[in-house]
Symmetry: D2
Subunit: 258 residues, 4 copies
């Protein structure tokens, strides 16, 4: 291969010829279809190599945990979009996914960055670092990503379950410990506990399984894509978007500035 | 130019060199910026030639007519999206535009197709064709695009205004007449009148100005893009998406299937 | 429950209280997380009941089959979107999904409708109906959904694999037969074969598993959402969107109308 | 009005009754349609009050300046999306707008923040502050928003034109001066000039007209929405998305990791 070819841009993901489709160097039909579950294939695609049993177990648990939480803003946006554009199922799904941003989804990635910093230092220094991190967020009056929840005030029930699943599948426990150190540091700095939310548990679980932080958004979006598909199916069979619209108009009436 | 070059794909819209930007063959800076209003430039871009005064007047009137109608589903979807993804203003706008589809926006294009069919026949045959068209929609139990409105039941106030503006700017009146023929045919076939809605008036006005039917969606979307920008500005300054969410959850509660 | 309550709108999908999240009547944490794979949960959400082994096997095979096909238009659109808006991973995914519409994704649903019509008649009449359907498409000069492919001209390798997986997991075979009848009818009407594409195989496989046609778009979009997540991860690590842009500008140059 | 009502959420934008539509306290049909141009209406909506002649002139000039720049990534993404989803014009527009993010559009807002900081201090201190700001960006190795351009290397021709239009319409000149101070500071700190790009000129022009920084994204998106509508019209009449796709596949081939 010449120098020019080496430096040229390419994709390592997939390619097709008339009778063969290759994904990351493997024959799609011969090696993957019928042999891998969705989650195994998703991880093979994201990681570029076959996933470990821990990675599959944890990713399945995370995907199941966040697929559905009912009429959250992204589901409402998707249903209202279908009302206006019934011809475009994909447009309604896209509208829903557009709300899966920093406020809800981004916290998993940002919490993972905190956990990574704690795990990166020697075990004996982790407690002090957790305290420093919490103090720094408090000083800047910024919300600590992964903590606090409007509904699950005494703790999101998904958090202990994800810890349990990670442990049961052979996680080493460094990230579980880091999360626990952050919880203790919060109690010390604030003088009270904050509920650990599912974003923190996702961060912990996926990092225990060595799934890179930059892949987390893709995992969250895929779970929500599946969730939105179900909402739109319900909306097509038993529409309620008109009622949602009317409820919003009543709750936020027009009052001209005087 | 060789035969191969002639048949090759190209764009006629715009191109740039180091010191010049050309849009449809004109020097952007020297010929267009500071000389054309937004609407004149938009029409120059859509039509590929300078717009007539009738085209500009009618397009401005249409754009102003539909920019804002308050907390319609697309505005709610945009605001809910900003709640989840405050980092992406464009994502919230896009979510709102995704609901500007067949149910609301598509009716203008479909009504324009009906009007085009009526105007295409000799004047003496138009009344009979309008009747045939309305009967055909009734037979197929399909809604006639451009008629009926949940709020403006005795007629949308924008309809007579757009007719007035088209006439005042030199429209020939064929499409105004065709719309009137459809209204009479509806009264005859149904035994009662239906309110003509703003989509029908948009179709009539833009076709009077010889703006092609296939350009209508772009006009509607641009007006709504501007409208959504204002909603998101209000949402950033005085957020109400949390209240919208709660109102929807109350209006459409979770009841598991039994 | 009063009459008013009965008729009121509700959602059967999910709801949450302070210490419990319920999805379709089940305790999310106790009954689903850690017990169901992603695909089992997705089907539970779409169908409202636990999926059969045939449904899980076929859905996994379909999801794996269409997750990746390389730099298809939706992947290019997603990568170009990330170039302009690196702050919004979800925006880039949404842009990619917006291209998963009638041209590529809709064919599975439309092919399923044809197969449903054939399976709905007594076995002795199916061959004749398949012939009638193909003749009708030919008369209207419309493309038969599920047949023809620009790359896989002698047949998409995923088609026989999906048939094999359906059979191996206990499919009854009515849809496999219906697909075969369509293939024979095409050969008879056109005097030559057309390649059966993956959309037809998806339609066949999911209908063999009694997954409703209206749920197919959601399955396709979820597979592609996972695929796009991997493309964006590659784009973040080894960007090529600038090169894509330049390649397009060279391929489709600006030539003003003369 | 009770205390509860006062504190309740409301919208000041628009509302409708059976025979009247009100936008920001004015009768849409009687006061606005046929009286305001698109740009005047857009500014009335964004600002909540009638725009000044300077505001209209500058906003029109900005909208015209950035409506079209040819086959930029957002236009390519929109066209590729239409290829896959020809049924959804709004989906293709939305896909295009999703790329109008921090990399291209966000620079106007960020540059405006720099200009605001310079204008906020007494005139005698502005030169020193501009120098400090440029040095700070250089120290952090961050790109100064509004400067540098891959094509227009000796300066974007739109920049002097927007300055000229602002001046000709009565701008006070504080932001023009601030921009000039930044240019001088860059030359001093870097030892060479950087081309001022159109984002800086948009920031300068809109701030001269007292249009708030947080409204800039909406202005940019609306101009691009109009631009994308024209691209999609060309794509519908003379499709080139297939050629774009092939060009990308050639430029970025599949090479599996070895």
């Amino acid at each position: 291969m010449s120098q020019a070819d080496r430096s040229a841009k390419h994709t390592e993901i997939a390619g097709a010829t008339a009778d063969r489709i290759e994904v990351r160097g493997r024959d799609l039909v011969g090696d993957l279809v019928g042999r891998l579950s969705f989650t195994e294939m998703f991880l093979f695609h994201l990681l570029g190599r076959r996933a470990t049993p821990l990675q599959v177990a944890v990713t399945d648990a995370v995907l199941v945990s966040i697929m559905e939480h009912g009429l959250v803003p992204s589901a409402i946006a998707a249903r209202l979009t279908l009302l206006g554009a019934p011809e475009s199922f994909q447009g309604a799904v896209a509208a829903g996914l557009l709300g899966v941003g920093d406020h809800f989804a981004g916290t998993a990635s940002r919490c993972a960055e905190l956990l990574d910093r704690i795990v990166a230092v020697p075990p004996s220094e982790r407690k002090a670092l957790a305290l420093t991190l919490v103090q720094s967020f408090r000083r800047d009056r910024k919300a600590l990503p992964g903590f606090g929840h409007p509904t699950h005030r005494s703790g999101d029930p998904r958090v202990p379950r994800l810890i349990e699943i990670a442990r049961a599948n052979g996680a080493q426990g460094h990230y579980i410990e880091a999360l626990s150190l952050l919880e203790s540091a919060i109690a010390e700095v604030l003088g009270r506990t904050l509920p650990t939310n599912v974003s923190a548990a996702i961060a912990m679980a996926l990092r225990e399984a060595e799934i890179p932080t930059e892949a987390m958004r893709g995992v969250v979006l895929t779970a929500r894509c599946a969730g939105l598909a179900g909402h739109l199916l319900e909306e097509m069979r038993d529409p309620s978007a008109e009622e949602m619209w009317q409820a919003v108009e009543r709750a936020v009436p027009y009052k001209p500035q005087t």
